[in-house]
């Protein structure tokens, strides 16, 4: 059966050109970049080249790019590294309710260490309103972390505006760009952010390579101590093949970004239009300020995992923020924070498109989606409406 992969926000396939760029370092050029013989020099050169390519993707200087092993690590590093470096200036941190677990749970860890954390509410589109941020800032605030784009609802935050507010008060600003990198143009200078996380496996690069951008001159406490790799800011033998792959993926993403966006947007719009033809299906996230390949919905009266399984049986691979589909058995906190009732959040379905997806994939998904939603509603006790369910009236998300 033909597979139609619509879960690029989960992970992307490795670009064959990226794999090719990794192969020498998986074979003959296996050296440790720290060693002084030529084999080490070759590895070290590969890391430096990749650093320049990753930096170019976000318009940073190469020295601002610290390689890590995952987006989660980058986010932990950013939050905890800055909190520790700044704790004498204040112990208040602001994050939004649209953040990834790795930001939220880093913030919770810092709470246990004596920091005060404000979790900024988001609106029905999953958006942080600048006013809300303004009100949350105190004299004690040392760090603000707000996601650039949500992998769950696709919404792109007004980071430039938010970062400017931070800058005016001398507060460090971090953005988690893991879901955004390679999808939309990113320029750390234009955005005005101090730190930015990105992860290669989200833009056709390998798993195991990620990065944290840190503005020049900004002190950050390491998360992983040891040797002097990454200028003493992140220890551990460099994962040279993955880093080389990340560099190549960044170079390709940079080169093809505008083509990819032009290709993805109409595909996404067609998918949204087509899927919404099924009754009681709602777009989640912002209709305009959203990732070019991102189409996310709630499907009332059915549960997301069941939808996913039936779609998978048809070769359609997508994702869901429903409680049952998550291995933690919790509904997406982002959906709930947007005011979506949890019964409706159970019907979450997320399509994240990639440039390998064809128009045919999209048309096929639209057709099957409708059939499957009908089939599951046939089985559902709520096929005629939420009826007795307490939250019935709240079920239709804000438009």
């Amino acid at each position: 059966m033909q597979v139609r992969y619509f879960d690029h926000a989960g992970t992307t396939p490795l670009d064959p050109a990226v794999l090719e760029a990794m192969m020498p370092y998986l074979r003959e050029s296996f050296g440790n970049p720290m060693s002084i013989y030529e084999l080490g020099g070759r590895a070290s050169a590969a890391v430096q080249e990749a650093r320049a390519d990753v930096a170019a993707l976000i318009n940073a200087r190469p020295s601002g790019v610290i390689f890590t092993a995952s987006g989660a690590e980058s986010n932990n590093f950013a939050l905890r590294g800055i909190a520790l470096a700044r704790q004498n200036e204040g112990k208040h941190i602001i994050v939004s309710k649209a953040e990834h677990h790795s930001v939220l749970n880093s913030a919770r860890f810092l709470e246990k260490q004596g920091f005060i954390v404000t979790y900024l509410p988001i609106d029905g589109y999953g958006m942080v309103e600048p006013e809300t941020l303004g009100k949350a800032i105190t004299k004690e605030t040392v760090l603000i972390s707000i996601i650039l784009a949500s992998p769950e609802v696709g919404t792109i935050q007004p980071i430039r505006e938010l970062a400017k507010m931070a800058k005016e008060k001398g507060i460090i600003f971090h953005t988690d760009a893991v879901a955004a990198a390679g999808q939309i143009p990113i320029d750390v200078k234009e955005l005005g952010v101090d730190l930015l996380s990105l992860s290669a496996h989200q833009f056709y690069g390998p798993k195991g390579a990620a990065a944290l951008y840190v503005r020049e001159g900004l002190r950050i406490v390491p998360l992983i101590y040891g040797g002097i790799q990454e200028g003493g800011r992140r220890a551990g033998t460099e994962n040279v093949p993955a880093i080389a792959g990340m560099g190549k993926a960044a170079a390709i993403a940079r080169e093809r970004l505008s083509h990819r966006i032009e290709y993805l947007r109409p595909l996404r719009d067609r998918l949204i239009e087509g899927v919404k033809k099924t009754d009681n299906v709602y777009l989640t996230g912002h209709p305009a300020e959203r990732l070019p390949g991102h189409a996310s919905f709630t499907v009332e009266f059915v549960e997301g995992e069941a939808m996913l399984l039936m779609m998978a049986a048809k070769g359609i691979y997508a994702a869901s923020g429903s409680a049952c589909s998550s291995k933690a058995l919790k509904s997406s906190p982002v959906l709930l924070s947007m005011g979506i009732p949890s019964s409706v959040a159970q019907g979450s379905i997320v399509f994240s498109l990639g440039h390998e997806n064809s128009t045919d994939d999209v048309e096929y998904a639209i057709t099957e989606f409708s059939v499957i939603a009908k089939k599951l509603r046939e089985i559902s006790p709520y096929r005629g409406g939420w009826g007795g369910v307490e939250e019935a009236e709240k079920c239709i998300p804000k438009k």
């Binding site: 549960e303 039936m310 409680a323 049952c324 009732p341 019964s343 559902s380 369910v389």
Partner: protein
Amino acid sequence: MYSEKVMDHFMNPRNVGEVENPDGVGAEGNPTCGDVMKITIKVEDGKIADAKFRTFGCGAAIAVSSMVTEMAKGMTLDEALKITKESVANELDGLPPQKMHCSNLGADALKKAIEDYKSKHPQ
């Protein structure tokens, strides 16, 4: 993740719907936290002559509903009351550990349906 049997009962669920003029109705669960199962039964000569379900929930929940109604049909009420989460899961060749509790409400819904019947037909 799921056994072949779970996938079969999920993709081709048996006994979907409501029995006409049910003798017993039982529902279990809550859509805000996860799964909801509603089972209707027809009782004849102290035996479950027919059982149908409607379920809002994940793959496991639907497969469990399908299986529990299949198991119940033809059983005496006392036999049917002995159906447990474990026996349903076993008949399905197992369920993933995290699904054992949250999506495995079939036996509970069936029990409620039988109790409903019994409350209406006191001996």
